[in-house]
Symmetry: C2
């Protein structure tokens, strides 16, 4: 990992923790348990890849770093909600997340459902707030694009396809690519595009950035599948081999470990190549692309 | 029910159904089940009280009726998501809703979780869309206020307090009032305030409307408690007497049926009185206040 990436990863993680800490002060009434469950899920331990991507892409367009952190916080709130709900007994039924008990294990199932629901609302409240961007047009574009990436045409739709595949649907490469593009690619893509939205770059100026986002998202997902198949559970803070046991549709299952790894590296290089016209301000995005395929968690 | 109210209730219900129908066209892939579950929950049978309130309050400020319908649709999407999640086995564990099987009974629990999550994202996508209001400042204010009403400081927080009360917490009148203000009052209040937001009325011009919203919300909740205690399950399309059986903190449990009914009528009259300075354009809001305490479902 480059020194630049290491320092930005640490800075963003600290910023995101501090802001969730401030937003989630438990009130002095019976909502305390809900807020404590939300703090359990959101503070400490996350990689914060999505907020990092937003801050990294915001550098390309000279965006106020505070705006990028706030937009990244909104995206991370969506990510945290999706993890809480994915871990539920009716979904993936996981006991561990980031090395700690999942929310429904540490609290209870109803609290986990509500905590996830609360994070989704919080995400849009943050995105729409004046503190995130002074221009209301930018704020409403952020909200609309984030909602599209998170909803039935994005992340939630991908999750539904994943369940269908587990229940015995198709597992070919096209289906898995489409499923992963929705399930994780849409939100990762939005994390990167958010930098351009904050910088008021019109859609026609986002072509290279979108190409980067597409390849990075796929590379990230293949690397995730490889970690699940081969990773060290202690480093990951969750169980390994679960995808295979659950009959999940993964790239590793379709391509095998060696071809999957080669494909992830190819996509990472392609992602970097899309940034050719940018200067040093794109170094962080380049370093992230190199890192996601070689991480250990 | 007045002729005006009857015709507006029918018109809004038809509009909301038609728009959910258009938004939720099942895609030709394995997300079909998710979309069908969302259609099952959202189309047909709802009273559409919240969109009606938005359209009724929008009349006070000469708002384009199309903007009011779209904002009401966003609010109804939040309401539908909250019903799907409240009915889950880990929450109220209900089998019937609007006379039909609940989503987790008609489909499965994972699909119900995802359908609720999808409706929450859809709500914010609708609210932030240019089709809802041409002014991006209005759109971002709508989103921020809707998110606050729906999140941990609003509806989700009220739901958490309700669970705590069921699990043996306090049941005094102050606690129940606060709980209900968050659980149902916040979203009903926003439904009414949305008309003023769409009409670009600054907060200082919303005092009377907020007072109406406060009293109407409480009257509505007491009437709901009365229906649960005494109502006809066939008319309601769900089981009656469930609150009492679950040990829920309700106004009827605290005040008894007669005092609760008197209190609901008093609040309804107070709500109407707050509209004294408005003319005929407020008749629909007046009719709604009279209706909510005398409905049979």
């Amino acid at each position: 990992m480059s020194a630049l990436l290491a320092s930005e990863l640490a800075r963003i993680a600290q910023e995101i923790d501090a802001r969730f800490d401030a937003l989630l002060t438990p009130p002095d009434d019976s909502r305390r348990r809900l807020y404590e469950a939300m703090r359990h899920a959101a503070i400490g331990g996350g990689k914060r890849l999505r907020p990092l991507l937003t801050s990294a892409s915001a550098r390309l367009f000279a965006v106020d770093p505070e705006c990028a952190i706030r937009a990244g916080l909104a995206i991370e709130a969506i990510h945290v909600y999706s993890l809480i709900h994915d871990d539920l007994p009716a979904m993936d039924d996981d006991d561990l997340r980031r090395g700690r008990p999942t929310v429904h294990r540490a609290y209870d199932e109803a609290t986990a459902i509500l905590a996830g629901d609360g994070f989704q609302a919080l995400a849009f409240e943050i995105a729409a707030s004046e503190a995130t961007h002074p221009d209301p047009f930018v704020r409403s574009e952020l909200v609309a694009a984030l909602a599209a990436a998170a909803g039935p045409a994005g992340m939630v739709g991908g999750q539904a396809m994943d369940m269908a595949a587990e229940a015995g649907g198709e597992h070919d490469l096209d289906t898995v690519s489409r499923l992963q593009q929705l399930k994780t690619g849409a939100l990762i893509g939005f994390s990167i595009e958010a930098g351009a939205i904050l910088g008021r770059v019109p859609p026609e100026g986002r072509v290279k950035l979108r190409a980067y986002a597409h390849d990075l998202g796929l590379a990230f997902q293949i690397a995730d599948d490889l970690l699940d198949a081969e990773g060290d559970p202690a480093a990951m803070g969750k169980a390994a081999g679960k995808d295979d046991a659950a009959g999940k549709a993964t790239f590793v299952g379709l391509l095998g470990v060696d071809r999957a790894r080669a494909q992830a590296r190819l996509l990472s290089q392609q992602a970097i190549d899309h940034l050719g016209n940018f200067g040093r301000e794109a170094d962080l995005l380049r370093d992230i692309a190199a890192y996601v395929v070689d991480r250990d968690r």
